[in-house]
């Protein structure tokens, strides 16, 4: 049952990919920040969860409720202090998008090195729910299934939040047409801050889940950022539903390549990413 193995493994990674891409997509879609430091928020979430579990014994699933709000506040403040000012200085939205890549590249170094000074460079890990579970004939550690389940719950509840609440509607309006949204009374600067915060929050939660499965270190962020970028381009920039589905698809592709030719996953993902940009820059689900 190798096929089933590969598919389930793909969906398990895909669930996490979807979560981290949704946060990235939200930050770009509304706040217009192409946040190259997205993975650093994942890293912060992961290391914070580790630090809560190892000395204090706090269950990682409980930590989600602590790490999430903290990351939200950090994200909100970074937008307030940094990106709001740069948005004003840049003048036009095109210039700002270009600059946001470079500024967040600087932010990447700052966050990574603050983490390095705080936690040190060594890889850290702990065991959590590391018992094998049979799933349709394939064996997987329980922590991966739990992580997938929680990723799905978070992803769906966030999607419902966007779809059905007043605030969610305001966010969607801001992502579609900034001027129009302002005309009907949406406070656009508030939306930028909220969305940047929510993006950091989702990244932090993804990081907390990742820490239950893999070892974590201050350098773990960038590969996740790259995956988030690829997923988001696949699903359509700023299209949050697209990001959720794109994550699952990418997880599957990665899992298939890993099975055929280990070591080539990322190269194939990049190739796919470049082809996607050339052929359908609006994403698979773009109109």
């Amino acid at each position: 049952m190798i096929v089933l193995d590969v598919i389930i493994a793909g969906l398990l990674t895909g669930g996490i990919y979807a979560l981290l891409a949704a946060g990235f997509s939200l930050q770009y879609g509304v706040a217009r920040v192409m946040n190259v430091s997205h993975g650093e928020f994942i890293m912060l979430g992961a290391l914070a969860t580790y630090s809560l579990y190892v000395p204090f014994g706090i269950n990682p699933l409980v930590s989600l409720a602590i790490v999430g709000p903290i990351l939200f506040i950090i994200g909100f403040l970074i937008n307030k202090i940094l990106f709001e000012r740069i948005r004003r200085l840049a003048g036009s939205i095109e210039v700002f998008e270009g600059w946001s890549i470079l500024v967040s590249f600087g932010l990447l170094f700052v966050i990574q090195n603050v983490a390095l000074l705080t936690w040190g460079a060594t890889e850290k890990g702990y065991t959590f729910l590391n018992v094998p579970i049979d799933l349709l004939g394939a064996r997987f550690p329980a922590n991966r299934l739990v992580a997938l389940l929680i990723a799905v719950v978070i992803g769906l509840s966030f999607f419902l939040f966007l779809l059905s609440t007043r605030l969610g509607k305001a966010i969607r309006a801001a992502s579609q047409e900034e001027t129009g949204a302002q005309l009907i009374g949406v406070n656009i600067r508030w939306m930028h801050g909220l969305c940047f915060g929510f993006g950091a929050l989702l990244a932090g939660l993804a990081g907390a889940l990742i820490s239950t499965m893999f070892t974590v270190s201050p350098f773990m962020g960038l590969p996740y950022t790259i995956i988030a970028i690829i997923v988001v381009v696949l699903g359509g920039l700023g299209n949050i539903m697209g990001s959720l589905l794109g994550g699952l698809i990418l997880g599957l592709i990665g899992s298939i390549v890993l099975h055929i030719e280990p070591g080539l996953e990322l190269a194939v993902l990049y190739l796919l990413f470049m082809l996607m940009l050339l052929v359908r820059p609006k994403g698979i689900f773009g109109k």
Binding site: I86, E97, I101, G106, F109, E261, L264, M274, L277, L278
Partner: protein
């Protein structure tokens, strides 16, 4: 009045440039090797930045493919270095980079703005992963040995590449070519309509400027004994030229040069003085560039000049 002043305006910068060139040409005999290496490093970043900015400055396309061009140059030397003489190897390094840039340039015909930036970043990173995988799975080892060249050879080769880069950038900007590039940056549709062959222009300029980046990679790698994909295609090389050009001032050649010189020296000082906090300070500098002088060092100088002339 302009007619009287023009010859002076052209004469003094020319004299200034030539005297700097002469000083640079004789200096390696009189200073310690450490400073020769530092100068080579400065030359490298000026070439990267000027090449980047000649295309990306006026057109507004943000290319993050510099690492790819530099990397293929380095790998050309790593592969051909033992069989061919050095000048030929450097020429090949430039040519490989030129051809790669032609391909990327063709991509730029379809995508622009943020998508072009992502595409070029994908190219650099994708090449890095591909070569890594190839070396580990097909050759069983990561990286390659490289022939080494004496540091004076490296210095003079870099000096020649630097002069060629500056000359080609200067002539591209001063010719009809440069004006056409500028018009692409302002309004690509309109440029097309007034009869500029937008596509050919973009592809050719991008390829020419990338030639020098590849040649730089081919010579610079002989400083080390060993090279692998992680160092050759390091993502830093993609971001640094962009930052240096913005740091100096995106509009002028002398801004790009000033930016790369100052930036390289700051990096060097930080690296030796604060090795543990270097990356942290580097990040803070990048952010401060955008927060405090978005028009770069050139903008700062012009502001000072304006203030002093008012007084």
């Amino acid at each position: 009045m302009d007619i009287v002043r023009t010859p002076h305006k052209r004469f003094f910068p020319l004299l200034f440039s030539i005297s700097i060139l002469i000083i640079l040409a004789i200096i390696p005999g009189y200073i310690p090797v450490y400073y020769v290496t530092l100068l080579v490093s400065i030359f490298k970043y000026i070439v990267l930045t000027v090449s980047w900015a000649t295309f990306c400055g006026p057109t507004g396309y943000i290319s993050l493919a510099s690492a790819a061009f530099l990397g293929v140059g380095m790998y050309t030397t790593a592969i051909l270095g033992e069989t061919l003489p050095l000048p030929l190897v450097i020429l090949f390094g430039g040519l490989v980079s030129f051809l790669l840039a032609l391909l990327v340039g063709l991509a730029s015909l379809r995508i622009r703005g943020i998508f072009f930036a992502m595409f070029t970043l994908g190219l650099s990173e994708g090449l890095r992963h591909f070569i890594n995988w190839w070396e580990i799975s097909r050759q069983g080892r990561q990286g390659r040995w490289v022939i080494s060249a004496p540091h004076t050879t490296i210095f003079y080769t870099m000096l020649i590449i630097l002069v060629m880069t500056l000359l080609s950038s200067y002539f591209i900007r001063r010719s009809k070519f440069g004006l056409a590039l500028q018009s692409i940056g302002e309004e690509e549709e309109a440029a097309n309509h007034i009869g500029i062959n937008v596509n050919a222009l973009k592809v050719i300029t991008f390829a020419i400027t990338s030639f020098w980046i590849g040649a730089t990679g081919a010579i610079i790698v002989t400083q080390w004994l060993y090279v692998d994909a992680e160092t050759a295609f390091s993502v830093i090389y993609s971001f640094e030229p962009t930052l240096m050009a913005l740091f100096g001032g995106i509009g002028e050649i002398y801004g790009w040069i000033l930016g790369s010189v100052v930036f390289t020296i700051i990096t060097e000082v930080l690296l030796t003085e604060f090795p543990y906090y270097y990356m942290l300070i580097f990040g803070i500098i990048i952010i401060s560039v955008f927060l405090f002088f978005p028009s770069g060092l050139v903008g700062l100088l012009q502001k000072w000049r304006k203030v002093s002339s008012v007084e």
